[in-house]
Subunit: 358 residues, 4 copies
C-alpha cells in the first residue's frame, strides 16, 4: 500500500481513522514557498465534520502540526510532513463490523486482503478521515497554484435527483469562484441548493443516504501541461480523484454525453481571441491528447450514496459463514457530497501542481 | 514522457505513427510464461484497420517481432520487447497540419508542448497506432489471466444514439464472452448492432463521425486485489484506460447513475452463495475501497466522436495567428468504437494482471 | 528531494536536525507483523549519542512514537509512520554557519541548492540525526529478517590506522555476531578495539577527528535474491548505504583488492557442501550478476573523518565573497564510526528485506 | 527485472546476448535535441570487441537503428528507442553451461532465480553485450552534457599490479581528456599503459585473466546538483555503475584511503578563486551531502578479473548435484577493463544528465 500520488511532487498519506494520528508527507516541494496557515485552516474547515445539521456529529479541530520541512514557516527543500491527531475516537463502536461487514463499505474487501490484522476501527485506512491529510496537501497546492494565477473551484452539481446549473465551460471564472468559496453549501443556483438540502434532510429522517456529482473547473491553466498516454492530465486527475472514498466515475468535458454526439457537433473549433489560440466551445474539457489546451479544465466526479444507513440491511457473519441482519449505529452523514467539494479541489490541485513541474 | 504503466509489471510504449516502428517493452513478466502467438495475432487482428467498410483504409499486417525477453518462445525473466514496423506511411498527407491544427485532435497541444520538434506525421505519438503495442502487451496479459481463469471481455454499449443491452452485472460470464470474441461487431443484441452499423454508415456518407461507449466485464476475479487510495483498482484501471486516445470518461458499477440513487437502493447486500461471500446486486462494480470483492468488475468507457471529419472546419494558422478554414483529407474511421473494444480489453488486462502481482 | 528508498517496501525519511520531529514512513510492510518494541529500542540505543566519553554530548531519549500503521502493536497493512521529537535543540549555535560554510560539510552545497531557505540549524536534513529514523526502519527490517533466519551484523574494520580482523567470508556466523551485538565497541579483536579507542581519544585531545571502515556480513541469505543490471543487490545496497552521511565508498567481497588478482585466484569454485551448491571461497561477496549466491553477503563501507574539528580552518564568507577563518564550537564526535555500525546494519537490512519481496 | 535507471530521464535496457536484438529506450529526453550520429558511433566503437589482439574475437558492427523518438534526426519528445541486432551468435557454444555453472559468472545465481527458463546463451541478460545499449544512452547523454560544457572522461587506473597516475583532483581537465579520448588504450602515463598491455598479454598466454580499476572525472559540473540521502550524486552514480558487469566497488574522492586520514588532513578548505567559491583540495570528490560542490567529480570503479579463464576449474553439475571439472572454451577477453572505460563514462553521463534535470 503506497498511498502515494505524483511524479514530481509525491503526496503520501498515512494513518487510520483511529490510529494516534493521520498525516501527509509532500516530497519535492521547491524550497522557499511560504504557506499561509490561516488560509489553509480555512480550507480545511470546509471539509470538517460538524458544520451543519446534516453532517456527522463527530467534531475534531483538525489543526495540522507541521513536524518537518519548514524553516520559519517557509519550505526548506526537504519533505514536508504534517500530522493531525485523532482525538475523538470511540473504538467500542466498531466491534460488530469485524465479523459482519457493512454493505458497500470496504470492510469485507479489507478483511479478505489483510485478514484479522485490518484496522477495522472507523474504517481504518479506508475512512473519509484520510481526506483530511489529502486536503492539507491539496490546500498547499491550491496556494501555490494561486500564485501562478491558476484557480481550482468545484460545486455540487447533483444530489439525489436535484441538479445545479453547470459551469459555463468557456467563460467559467472568478465571478463563480468567489461565491462558491464563501458558500456554506457550494452551488451556482441557490434554489437548487435549497432543494438539495431538503432532499438530504428527508433522507436523514428516513435513515437513508444520497449520492451526488461534483463538478470542478480549473482556470488560468497554461496550455501544454500533461503528457501523452498514461501521464496525461486525464489519467493523473482520474488517478488522484478515485483516491477519494466513494468516487465511482470521472468524466472530462462533455464526458459520457459525447457518446451521443457527432464529430461535427463535438469538435471544438480553434479561434483567435485576445491574441491567443482558444476554442469556440469546450467539449474537450481543456485537455487534448492528455495535454492542456489553455481552455478551462472541466470535469465531474460521481459519489455513490453513503453506504452507512440506519435501516436494517442484509449481510453475513464472516466467522459463521451465514447470512445475518445488520443495523449500523453511530454517527454518519446522510450525504458526504458537500464535504467532498474541497476534497475534489484538493485532489485536482495536487495533480495539476504536480503536472506543472514536469 | 514516460508512456509507462504499472507497478509490478511495467508496460512501456514507444514509437510514433510514422517512425520506423512502434513497440512495447513489458518489464517484470515472470520467467517461464509461454505465449500463444497465434492467439495473440488473432487478438491483434481485432483492432486492425481495414476489417470492414467503415474503418480506415490503411492496411498493415501488424505482426509483432519479439526482439528480447524470450528463450524458445518462453519468457526468460528479462524485459520483453516487441516491435511492429510502420510500413504504410505517407508523410506528405500531413504537411498542412503542422500549421493548422485539426480541431479536437492533439495537434495544437502537442505544438505548444514540443514546438516544431513535435512529430506531426500521422498524429505522431498521439496516434491510435500506439494502441497496437498496447494490444500486444494486453494480449499477453489476457493469456496470462486466462490461465488463472480470469476473463476480460467488452462490448459496444452505445454508438451515437443506438444502445446495446448492458451486461448483467451479477451473472455476466462465458456465455456472453464466447459470442463477443467471435463477433465481427461485438454487441450483445444483434439488432442493436445492425442499427449501429447503419448509423456509422450514415455518418460516413455525411462526412461526419460518431462516438460511443464500451462496457467491459472481468469475471473470475479473486477478492482482495487492489489497494486503498491511489493504487485501487479503479485508479489503476482509469489510469490505463485514459491512455487510449479519445477516452473522456470512465465509470465503475452503477457509475454516474448512482448519483441519483439512495443508499438503501444502491447498497449491495452480502449473501452466502455457493459457500462464498457474494453480493446480491453489483452496483459497486466488483470494487469496494479500491479492492476487488470477487464479484464481476464492471466498467464503462466513453469515446468522443472521431475528430477527423470530412466537413470543412474552423481552425487557425499557428504561424500567422489568424483564423482559417480547414478541410482534412486522407483516410479516417467514422467511428473507432468497434476497434476500441479490444483496446479496452487490453488496457484492463494490463491493469488487472499488474494488480494480481501486488 | 524524495528521501525514499526501496522498490517493494519504501522507506521514506523526513525531518531536519532542529525541526519539531524527525521520522520515517515505511510503505508496503505486510499486514500481521509483530514488532518487538524493546528490541527495537535496544537497537536504537546502539546509535545513540552519549554512550561513551568519545561521542557527542547531546543527549536525547530517541523513543519513537508510532502514529500510524499499527493495530494493537501489529502492522495492519497501511503505511507505518514513526516520529521522534527533537527536544534538545540549541539553534543559536548555528548562526555563523549560515554565512561561513564548514569545510567538508554540506553547508555550502545546500546553500547553493536551497539558497537562504536551507535549514542550516544542526545541519538540517544533512544531519546524522536523520540516521535515527533510518534505524527505526532498519531495526524493524532486522527483526523481520531474523524471522527468516537472516542475520545482519557489522563491526569496525578500521579507525585511523588501526585495523580489526576481517570476517571470515565463508564461515562468518552467529559466533561472531553474538559478541558484536552485545559489545559497547563492536570489533572482532578486542586489542584492536583498545587501540582504536586510544586513537580516538588522542584525536579528541588534539581537536581532530578520524574516519574508518565498517565491514558488514549477512548470513542465512537465500540464493536467487536481487535482479540484474540496476536492481542488483550491489546497486541496492550501495544506494542505501551512500544515504548514510560521510560514506565515500562501498565494496563487495574482495572489492578493490580484486583489481590486483588474477581470475585463477579470484574465481570462487563451486562445491557441493551439506547437499547444497556453495563456493569454496567467497571473493564474490555472496553476489554474482546482482543476485545472491547463498554465500554470506560481505561488504565494506568507508566513512570519511568527521568534518567538524576544533582546530581553526580556512573557509569563506558567502555574503562577502572573501576568505575567512572558521572555528567550530559546539558538541561533536571525534569519530562517528562506532555509532555508524548500527546504521550500516539498518541500511543493509532495509535493502535486503526489500529485495526479498521482489 | 526493470533494467531501468533514472529519475527524470529513464534509461531502460532490454535484450539478451543471443536474442534477436539488444536495445535501449530513453524516456524523458527533451524535444529538440540533435544527436550527432557519427560522434555516437565513434563512442560506441570504443567499447567494441575486436579492436586489439587482447580482446574477444567476436566481431559485430554495433550500429544502432533508431526506431522511435526522432523526427528528422532530432528528438521529438517521445521515448527514444534504439536497437542493435545480434548477428554473430553461436548458441551451440553454451550447452554445457546450462548444467555446469562457470565460477564467478552469473550462471548459477540466474539458474536459481529463473530456473530452466534463464537464457543461458552467451550469458543472456548478464552479458557484457548489454553494455552496448548502455553506451548508446550514455553516448547521447555525453553529447547533451557537452553542450552544457560538462565533460566526462575516464582512464585505466590499474590493471593487475600495474598502476597509472591518478587524475589531479583539482586541476583535471581538457588537457587530460583530449589525450584519453583519442587513445587506443586510455592511460595518463604511456609507460604504465605499456606495462599493462604486457601484463594482459602474459595473462592471456597463461589462460588467465586480470581485473583493474577505472578512474573517472567529471569537469564543468555546476554546484548544487544532486539531493540528500538516497538521491545524492554518490547514490545515483553507484547505482548505475554497479549495473556494469564485474564492478565490485565504487569510491568517491579519497574513497577508502580516507579511513586512515584525520579530519584536519581530509577537510577541503573553502577558498575564493576566479571569483567563485572553490576548495583548495578535493578529497570530497566534488560531492558534499550528495550535492555537487562545483569541483571535479572524481570516482573510481573496480572490476574483478574476467571469470572466463582457459584453465580447468572446479564446478558442479546442477542436475546431478556432484562436483565436476569445467573447461571453458570459446572467445573471451583476458581483461575487459580497457573496454569498460567508455562504459563507465556512459554510466556516469546518464546519472549526471538525469540529476541535472532534477
Amino acid at each position: 500500500m503506497s498511498n502515494t500520488f505524483g511524479k514530481n511532487i509525491k503526496v503520501s498519506i498515512f494513518g487510520q481513522s483511529h490510529s494516534p494520528a493521520v498525516g501527509v508527507t509532500v516530497y519535492g516541494l521547491p524550497a522557499g514557498q511560504t504557506i499561509d496557515f490561516d488560509q489553509l485552516q480555512a480550507f480545511l474547515q470546509r471539509r470538517m465534520p460538524g458544520r451543519g445539521a446534516f453532517t456527522t456529529e463527530r467534531k475534531e479541530p483538525d489543526v495540522p502540526e507541521f513536524i518537518a520541512g519548514l524553516n520559519d514557516g517557509v519550505t526548506c527543500g526537504t519533505p514536508l510532513t504534517a500530522i493531525i491527531r485523532n482525538t475523538d475516537v470511540r473504538s467500542s463502536d466498531y466491534d460488530q463490523i469485524k465479523d459482519v461487514p457493512r454493505p458497500s463499505h470496504a470492510d469485507f474487501t479489507a478483511h479478505v486482503k489483510y485478514g484479522n490484522h485490518h484496522d477495522v476501527r472507523g474504517g481504518g485506512a479506508f475512512s473519509g478521515r484520510l481526506t483530511a491529510p489529502l486536503c492539507i496537501a491539496g490546500g498547499i497546492c491550491l496556494q501555490l497554484l494561486k500564485q501562478k494565477n491558476i484557480s481550482v473551484a468545484a460545486h455540487i452539481k447533483q444530489i439525489g435527483s436535484e441538479n445545479d446549473q453547470s459551469f459555463d465551460p468557456v467563460n467559467v471564472g472568478e465571478k463563480d469562484f468567489g461565491t462558491l468559496e464563501k458558500a456554506d453549501f457550494p452551488v451556482l443556483d441557490k434554489d437548487a441548493g435549497t432543494r438539495m438540502l431538503e432532499a438530504i434532510s428527508t433522507a436523514k429522517q428516513a435513515g437513508d443516504s444520497l449520492g451526488g456529482i461534483v463538478e470542478c473547473a480549473v482556470t488560468g491553466m497554461p496550455a501544454g501541461i500533461g503528457e501523452p498516454m498514461f501521464d496525461g492530465m486525464e489519467n493523473r486527475l482520474a488517478c488522484v480523484l478515485f483516491g477519494i472514498p466513494a468516487v465511482k466515475g470521472v468524466e472530462f468535458g462533455s464526458g459520457f454525453a459525447s457518446a451521443g454526439s457527432k464529430g461535427s457537433e463535438h469538435n471544438d473549433a480553434f479561434i483567435i481571441k485576445d491574441g491567443t489560440v482558444q476554442t469556440r466551445t469546450n467539449n474537450h474539457g481543456g485537455i487534448l491528447g492528455g495535454i492542456t489546451s489553455g481552455m478551462p479544465v472541466i470535469f465531474r466526479v460521481v459519489f455513490k450514496p453513503v453506504p452507512s444507513i440506519a435501516m436494517e440491511q442484509d449481510s453475513v457473519s464472516l466467522s459463521r459463514k451465514e447470512e445475518v441482519k445488520l443495523k449500523i449505529s453511530g454517527r454518519h452523514d446522510p450525504c458526504i457530497v458537500p464535504r467532498a467539494v474541497p476534497c475534489v479541489e484538493a485532489a485536482a490541485a495536487i495533480a495539476i501542481y504536480d503536472a506543472l513541474l514536469d
